[in-house]
Symmetry: C2
Subunit: 150 residues, 2 copies
């Protein structure tokens, strides 16, 4: 960021031009921030459910259903953030991700359907929701193991 800013300031000073970063690069940076923002929100809701499933906080069916609702909505979002050109910079996505976009997209579709299945049973007992929560969690691990620098 610092060197990019310097280039921009130098460009503006020497040539009287505005910041010279191409729109395309801005869009790629925005895409990286976007998908990271989505995953951060994802972790909040996933973590709140996980704490109940692991017995760290009391199970509350209504609260669990709230988080399942938000999680299902969020699963629709990250896919569009993996745009062309957003494979560099402040991202933990491995090179393998960009070589296997069909698999990545199929995994996101699986995540969506598993989150919908969790939402469908939410409101029920802890015994009802635990296996569906575990199925969602498997998606996270599967994708991170293959495509994310940890």
């Amino acid at each position: 960021m610092k060197s990019k800013l310097l280039v921009g300031v130098l460009g503006a000073t020497l040539f009287g031009a505005s910041m010279s970063t191409p729109v395309y690069a801005d869009k790629a940076e925005d895409a990286i921030k976007y998908r990271q923002g989505v995953f951060t929100a994802f972790r909040w809701h996933f973590g709140a459910m996980g704490a109940m499933v692991r017995g760290k906080v009391d199970y509350d069916a209504e609260q669990f259903a709230h988080h399942a609702t938000q999680l299902a909505a969020l699963t629709r979002m990250p896919k569009e953030g993996f745009i062309e050109g957003s494979d560099f910079g402040d991202t933990a996505a491995k090179a393998e991700l960009w070589e296997n976009l069909d698999d990545v997209n199929a995994r996101f579709d699986k995540l969506i359907s598993d989150a919908d299945a969790l939402l469908a049973v939410s409101g029920g007992s802890l015994g009802d929701v635990r296996p569906a929560f575990g199925a969602v969690a498997k998606n996270c691990k599967g994708c991170h193991d293959n495509y994310k620098e940890e």
Copy 2:
């Protein structure tokens, strides 16, 4: 972060203890990251619609409706991130926000209903969606002017 890590490492070294940050502070930090993540995702979808409304990219009713759907889902999320104790640290929330939580919550409810109204007209012509988009935008500005350090 660096000093916190140092304290943790020192604590672990000197006393054989695990990281000493209280769970409460972790939760507050998570809440700040969570709401910032939600707003980052919010900007992505809001910005995509804004580019169409301002004529920077061609209007595509289906794409617009996609972004309106995601935006409506996201408006449900930030409120729960403004938890007690999350008024310090890496946040742009002004002190005034914490003194006016009833007003802040009412503003979030208005944002939700305006985003729903936008979603309801999305799929229509640019003339249909423009006023509803402007109504959503007013919420951002109103809340930022009062409660966010810019």
